[in-house]
């Protein structure tokens, strides 16, 4: 039995063995049989999405209105996937399962809702539209200090066709989630020889990704590039520690520490391939630095632990990344820093406040929303607990996934530095998720970094009790994902009539008007991004307003105050169903306060109704009585 057959290759790819381990000589009819449940699950899903009425949604989002056939489809797919990894099926079969899960769960809103969800999506489309006709400088806001994503789509939109950014935005989550699979697979295969853990880890990432940053956004695309950089580094620049082969004390020490890491076959890249891969790593790092505020620092943390921990060889890359991040901040993001440096510096080290704004302050609002927030915390907590158990279990069996530990922990270092608008723990959890999922998969799978020669290169099939546990875990996570990802959907989805109202608003308003919404959940800014848009609940005086009864006089005074702050003479108030739902779900105002505000506005002579449909109304008001 060669050393390669034991899954402990020393460099030369075990080309004759590795495919056999995965494929085991299965024939085409096996694959067709394994894909039948996927087809049935897909058909059930297709039937389900035509029965869903988003208007009937409650405070827990889609979970209460999905038909039984939807859950049956997801359950069937989960069972089928777990049976396929019991005796690893062909990669193509497992990939189809994963892609189907992504479409069925992460593509649910794209398929059901006729227009993109989330106000940020519409805002991002608006920035792209703005850049089609204006320069990136001078910057209008923070987005313009990291314009990589927006410049990309402003360049592509004339090629895909005018006005197509909104179509792309609707289907973007599916494309992005499928794109994550390739780098995830490369990352996991650098950690283990057991392909069942690789596929189960991918499955758990899809099921555990409730954070919802896969929408049409710079962070979604930057996360893909982050995964790609880590994947290419771990694949092609991983340091192999061979005990006893080193002269320097540091290498001997590192070899002793990493002796328990699985010895995974290194690729047989030549110099040209390694150079090309390093060029792509640098290009992708540059693209990340230019596209998003947080991801470069997550990448810096990830690459930092790998370099300082001696897990990858290109040490200069860490220095280069540091220079890129610092250089961008000092030269390209100056306008942003000028306005925010004081805030950023005062938040450094305030761990308690940073965690509180990300976790505790989110468990508020309606009972349904609180349940959703608790499920989100529970899902993350369960995965972290499983990861901890997985790490302990594999270590006790002599397998220490130290690189994975590093990458799972590194993102949480960012919590020390700033709250990131109350989202830093969520973002850290997202960047940690792939590595947490891998360790969690380790607790569900047997520890077998070597294959059995007795079985001719195949692994023992997963036991039935273990398969059952994996199935149950998948079902629980799938249900939790639907609840946690779409829990706020009632305020995050938009009716087409709301977009019609915004279009009408842009038709009647002029660049000198101040446009006011009651809460942030509104599909606007997709045109006229440079006009003045204000949100009442984000106004400095809002907390004081919410303590008073919204009489007609007060409402007129408050709105006039917002307009006068911009030294303009008149403005428009846009009221939509989603704004009111958002305020109610998140508890931004006392019960009935927003509704009373709208009634007072309608009754006031200071406001003139200029447009109304089923989901929206527009009022015009002069700044002076």
């Amino acid at each position: 039995v060669s050393i390669a057959a034991e899954g402990v290759s020393t460099g030369a790819a075990p080309a004759s063995v590795a495919p056999g381990i995965e494929r085991g000589g299965r024939r085409a009819p096996d694959e067709i049989r394994q894909l039948v449940p996927v087809a049935i699950a897909g058909a059930l899903w297709w039937l389900s999405i035509h029965q869903i009425d988003p208007g009937a949604m409650g405070d827990t989002g889609y979970v209460g209105i999905l038909p039984v056939t939807y859950y049956a489809g997801v359950a069937l797919l989960s069972v089928s996937f777990c049976l396929c990894i019991r005796r690893p099926a062909r990669p193509a079969v497992l990939f189809v399962h994963l892609a189907a899960l992504i479409v069925m769960v992460h593509g649910l809103a794209s398929a059901v809702e006729p227009i993109p969800r989330l106000s940020a999506t519409w805002r991002h489309v608006g920035i792209i539209t703005y850049l089609l006709h204006h320069d990136v400088t001078p910057p209008l806001d923070a987005y313009f200090s990291w314009p990589g994503f927006f410049s990309l789509f402003a360049s592509i939109e004339p090629i895909t066709g005018a006005g197509t950014a909104i179509v792309i935005a609707r289907w973007f989550p599916i494309v992005l989630d499928v794109a994550y699979l390739a780098p995830l697979s490369v990352i996991f295969r650098s950690f283990t020889n057991d392909r069942r853990i690789v596929w189960l880890s991918c499955w758990l990432v899809v099921l555990g990704n409730w954070v919802g940053q896969d929408y049409f956004s710079p962070q979604g695309l930057s996360f893909f590039l982050y995964l790609a950089v880590i994947a290419l580094l771990l694949r092609s620049f991983r340091r192999q520690h061979v005990p006893g082969a080193h002269e320097r004390w540091i290498d001997r020490a590192l070899s002793a520490v990493y002796a328990a890491e699985p010895r995974v076959a290194a690729p047989t890249d030549g110099p040209a391939q390694r150079t090309a891969i390093m060029v792509v790593v640098i290009l992708a790092s540059g693209a990340i630095v230019a596209s998003h505020q947080l991801t470069p620092f997550m990448l810096l943390a990830g690459v930092g632990v790998l370099v300082l921990g001696g897990r990858i060889t290109p040490r200069a890359l860490l220095l280069l990344l540091g220079v890129l991040c610092a250089g961008w901040l000092m030269f390209m993001a100056v306008p942003y820093l000028k306005g925010h440096l004081q805030d950023l510096l005062t938040q450094v080290g305030d761990l308690g406040q940073n965690v509180d704004t990300s976790v505790a302050s989110r468990v508020q609002g309606s009972a349904g929303h609180q349940l959703v927030a608790q499920v989100r915390i529970a899902m993350t907590g369960v995965l972290l607990l499983l990861a901890l158990c997985g790490a302990v279990k594999r270590t006790m069996h002599g397998v220490a996934d130290i690189s994975c530990w590093y990458l799972a922990i590194a993102p949480f270092a960012m919590v020390l530095f700033q709250p990131y608008g109350g989202e830093i723990v969520l973002r850290a959890a997202l960047f940690s998720l792939p590595f947490v999922a891998f360790l969690a998969a380790g607790v569900l799978m047997p520890v077998s970094e070597t294959v059995s020669p007795r079985l001719g290169g195949l692994r023992e099939p997963l036991s039935w009790p273990r398969t059952t546990i994996v199935v149950l875990m998948s079902l629980a996570l799938a249900l939790g994902l639907v609840l946690s990802k779409y829990g706020n959907e009632r305020s995050e989805r938009f009716a087409p009539s709301e977009v019609d109202a915004v279009s009408e608003l842009y038709g009647v308003a002029s660049p000198d008007d101040v446009l006011v919404a009651l809460s942030p959940s509104v599909p606007w800014k997709f045109e006229h991004y440079d006009w003045t848009h204000e949100v009442l609940t984000q106004d400095a005086t809002y907390d004081e307003m919410a303590t008073q009864q919204p009489t007609s006089e007060r409402v007129a005074g408050w709105v006039r105050g917002v307009i006068a702050a911009h030294q303009e003479t008149h403005g428009f108030v846009l009221v939509t169903t989603s704004q009111l739902e958002y305020a109610r779900l998140l508890g931004l105002a006392p019960d009935g306060w927003m509704e009373a505000f709208v009634r007072s506005m309608a009754a006031s002579t200071a406001f003139e109704l200029v447009y109304r449909n089923d989901d929206a109304a527009i009022y015009r008001i002069e700044a002076s009585p």
């Binding site: 990136v136 360049s155 895909t160 390739a182 490369v186 893909f224 790609a228 090309a276 792509v280 540059g286």
Partner: protein, 127 residues
């Protein structure tokens, strides 16, 4: 028959990549295509330039090849778009020209290197 099938398979990717470039270019020039145009253009910009070079360089592991291809294509497109944005140039034409150029160059390099390598089981450019 087997050799014919292998030959067809080895030409599939170069034809697909060059075809995607031509199709994107044509639909942009003729301003036609509807939803199909969106799919083709996104496919082209997010995969093709990188895939042409991933295959030319012989990155034979499937997941690594797709990772390389999409990361190279997307990050290259972002950096070109960014440069044109800061320069103040018309953004689409330089991006399209560079992406098509990189794709055709990658396909050409791949075909050239394959012609000097021994034919191995119908798998093109595998080291």
């Amino acid at each position: 028959m087997i050799r014919l099938a292998e030959a067809r398979r080895s030409w599939a990717w170069p034809v697909l990549l060059a075809g995607s470039a031509s199709l994107t270019l044509s639909m942009y020039a003729l301003d036609t295509g509807g939803s199909f145009r969106i799919v083709v253009a996104l496919w082209f910009f997010s995969v093709c330039p990188g895939m042409a070079w991933a295959r030319a360089l012989g990155i034979d592991d499937l997941a690594a090849r797709w990772t390389f291809a999409s990361a190279a294509s997307v990050s290259g497109a972002i950096l070109v778009a960014l440069a044109t944005a800061y320069v103040g140039a018309s953004p689409s034409v330089p991006l399209l020209a560079i992406a098509v150029g990189m794709t055709i160059a990658g396909v050409g390099y791949g075909l050239r290197t394959r012609s000097v390598r021994p034919f191995r089981g119908g798998r093109d450019v595998q080291r």
